[in-house]
Amino acid sequence: MDLLAQLFVNGLVNGSHYALLALGFGLIFGTTRVTHFAFGPVYALSAYGCWFIASALAAPLWLAMLGGVLTGALAGVFAYLVVYRPFERKGSTSLVILIASLGFFIVLENLIGVVFGTDTKVVPAPPSGIFLWGPLVVTGVQLVQIAALILVGSALGLYLTRTRMGKAVLAMTDNPEMARVIGIDTLRVSLIAFALGSAIAAVPAGLILIKDGATPHMGFLAVFMAFVAVVVGGVGSLKGAVIGGLVLGLIESTGMIRIPTEWQSSVAFVVLFIVLLVRPRGLFGGR
């Protein structure tokens, strides 16, 4: 029972991580319909940006996190303007854009490796608080991961529902053609989606940097889990993305009761198949 409770807490922590990733990816995918595989390396780049500011510039962690968020936003916007937009303007199919994103994925991931090297980067003096709550053990960073989901999620929710630009983003997520027809500047909204989505993903990137360190390949699993969570939660539903992420984290963790740890990453994909076969729209999907 204690083990299950601990696994549950771990699942909540990982789930929060996936949920934030899914939120970022879902925002981009739902709004622009770009299957942005390069989301992974952009996420990694934010972690590296954070690391660089923390270690090479010896800045305090909160400043480094901010730097990471900025790095992510810029990289995301770059990806859209330089890689995807030319294809959009040309009228390429979404499959062509998907392949282009795979190409950019390869380029960016290896560029990170060339520039920073393949060793694991860690922040100097990461916070090391541990909290004991009865039989449960949870570190400070893990708590921040959960808190991050709540904070970022709420902030995003407020932005999307209360501001004019945010509502435009929601409109485009719901129906891109209609949004264009009623005069929403879809270029501007796409830029915001990419900037915001990448910025949101930079938060878990920084936290993972602190917790585990950064490697060039770290974005790979991130973008997959994000994609799976979005599909499970339902494309176009940001609420679904969060719930999809949490569900994945919980199933993955509590599944450890029965499944050996090596097979952990397969759990997510089994969940994906089941959802796609049984309810292809996802839990909260519209189309």
Binding site: T35, V83, P86, F87, K90, S92, S94, L95, V96, L98, I99, A100, L102, G103, F104, F105, I106, V107, N110, L111, G113, V114, T118, F220, F224, F227, V228, V231, P260, E262, W263, S265, S266, A268, F269, L272, F273, L276, L277, P280
Partner: protein, 556 residues
């Protein structure tokens, strides 16, 4: 010199991988990014069977083919239900699972250490332990695999695959079994990739899971894209380009891991640039060559036949809370043209979908020639004699006009792989006959002059004619046309309408959905009026058009 020979061996392996991958993504349009997994399973199968169990070449290769083909079928199962982006993510996920299994099933696969000391191939007492000695085997096997892939692509089966890629609903509507096609192409692509894997294992004598990752699949994807999807020779070109390109980098002095990454970056950039500048690839898609002038017999098209009535009783269809069709009885007699009219959203196309298996009714029955069509798939219903066209045409735009008609012809031996590989002369003979049939149909609708042109190059009126031709080609006696004449100018209408009359006169069972009242008056013997999912009236055009309530709803 050894080095050059090594590169050539790699080219041979990549050629097998790229051409088999092209079958999946280029010909069939199935974006399955799991090819490295097939390659890896083939390699590991040979590694395990040769190293651990001591089986000699080619036994591990053959067993590997069977195992990987089975995996291909498993991976095909999600593809039956989903397409596009979802298929990409599912197949990538399966790829990751395969890698995880290879890394973790330590007992079988050596886990992260991989499998070493795989025995070399020994042929006629000669051990193939250098690139120079291995190259002839690699080249011959690569040639054989390429031939198998090529034969598939050039056959009627390959044509049906391309049609499926263009429009899956339409290819079902011309009688093709898409489930069987998808399973077959996955199995074959997987099997061919596993052959390359087997060669890889014997050549390198060491396999480890990190050689068979997603990055490799993207590398193969780049080869296919560069060479040209839908062109197997292009895949060879792509394989050569990407195998040779990294060698050019060797002239620049840099540490080896940076060189590796730079190589990878280069091909990522190459992929994006290629997509941007020439997405169709270096070599264009190969259209099958046809000798249009060859004196092939043209059998008559509108031959007299014994038609039968198509009957729908009490048909109902609900989508959640929306009732699309409710309690509709419709009887389409042979030798006559039945019109199906009503406002937009009345349920006319839904009724067609119910009659032809594209939707299953919630209630009601469909009968043709005394046989119930309930539960049958669209392609089975086409073979039973009932076929439909689509309001939005759904032409195979990437295929020529002639191919659009050819692919629709029934009972093609070339659709069955057994014939394609083991009795190609029978397939060739029937293709010649079908060529005659197809040209006869094109002459019947007046499109024979455009036979060699791509369907995407046709004018609107010509596209409508092609829709009719393709439907005729199915050989079904019951033909359901969904707005076949909408948008046609009067002179085009005058040309096309007699075609329908001749078809009805020949005994076929014809139903057309139309909005043009002049057409309805001119063509239809009886008309069924649908509104809000219910059949409101049936009668001659004059009877319906003089009815005040119907006029209120629609005619005014």
């Amino acid at each position: 010199m050894d080095y050059v020979l090594h590169v050539m061996v790699m080219v041979a392996l990549y050629a097998i991988l790229a051409s088999s991958f092209n079958l999946l993504i280029g010909y069939a349009g199935l974006f399955a990014l799991s090819h490295a997994a097939f390659f890896g399973v083939g390699a590991y199968a040979t590694a395990i069977l040769a190293a651990t169990y001591g089986l000699a070449f080619p036994v591990p290769l053959l067993i590997g083919i069977v195992a990987t083909a089975a995996l291909g079928v498993v991976i095909a199962l999600p593809a039956l239900r989903i397409g596009g982006d979802y298929l990409v993510i599912v197949t990538l996920a399966l790829q990751i699972i395969v890698t995880t299994v290879l890394l973790n099933w330590t007992g079988m696969t050596g886990g992260t250490d991989g499998i070493r000391a795989i025995p070399r191939v020994e042929l006629l007492g000669l051990k193939l332990d250098t690139p120079g000695k291995f190259l002839p085997l690699a080249a011959i096997v690569a040639l054989a695999c390429y031939a198998i892939a090529w034969r598939l692509g050039a056959s009627p089966f390959g044509r049906a695959l391309k049609a499926m890629r263009e429009n899956e609903a339409a290819v079902q509507a011309v009688g093709k079994n898409v489930v069987a096609m998808k399973l077959a192409v996955f199995a074959i692509a997987a099997a061919l990739a596993s052959v390359a894997g087997s060669l890889y294992a014997h050549y390198f004598t060491f396999v480890s899971a990190d050689s068979f990752t997603v990055e490799l699949t993207i590398y193969l994807l780049t080869m296919v894209i560069i060479g040209g999807t839908g062109n197997l020779a292009g895949s060879l070109v792509g394989a050569v380009v990407l195998a040779v390109l990294p060698e050019a980098l060797k002239f620049i002095d840099m540490p080896s891991d940076i060189a590796d990454k730079t190589r990878l970056m280069l091909y990522g950039v190459l992929l994006i640039v290629m997509l941007r500048l020439r997405p169709q690839g270096l070599l264009p898609e190969s259209a099958s060559a046809h000798h249009y002038d060859a004196p092939v017999e043209r059998p008559p098209v509108a031959t007299q036949l014994q038609g039968a009535a198509l009957e729908g009783e009490g048909l109902s269809k609900r989508f959640g809370g929306i009732v699309a069709v409710s309690g509709v009885d419709i009887r389409i007699e042979s030798g006559k043209i039945t019109g199906l009219i009503g406002p937009n959203g009345a349920g006319k196309t839904t009724a067609f979908n119910l009659l032809t298996g594209f939707l299953q009714p919630n209630d009601g029955q469909v009968h043709y020639r005394g046989q119930s069509l309930r539960g049958l798939k669209p392609h089975q219903i086409v073979r039973a004699g009932v076929a439909r066209s689509f309001q939005d045409l759904k032409l195979f735009t990437g295929l020529t006009v002639l191919e659009n008609v050819l692919v629709a012809l029934p009972d093609q031996r070339g659709d069955k792989l057994a014939y394609v590989y083991f009795a190609p002369w029978l397939v060739r003979k029937q293709e010649r006959e079908n060529l005659g049939r197809a040209m006869a149909i094109l002459e019947f609708v007046g499109l024979d002059a455009r036979a060699a042109d791509l369907a995407s190059d046709l004018s609107y009126a010509e596209e409508k004619l092609l829709v009719v031709a393709r439907l005729l080609a199915t050989g079904a006696e019951a033909l359901l046309f969904d707005e076949p004449l909408s948008g046609l100018a009067p002179n085009a209408l005058a040309k096309v309408m007699p075609i329908f009359k001749r078809l009805a006169q020949s005994g076929r069972t014809i139903c057309i959905i139309e909005h043009n009242l002049d057409v309805i008056r001119e063509l239809c013997d009886t008309v069924v009026f649908l509104d809000e999912g219910r059949k409101l009236a049936q009668g001659t055009p004059e009877q319906l058009m003089s009815d005040p309530e119907l006029s209120e709803r629609y005619f005014k």
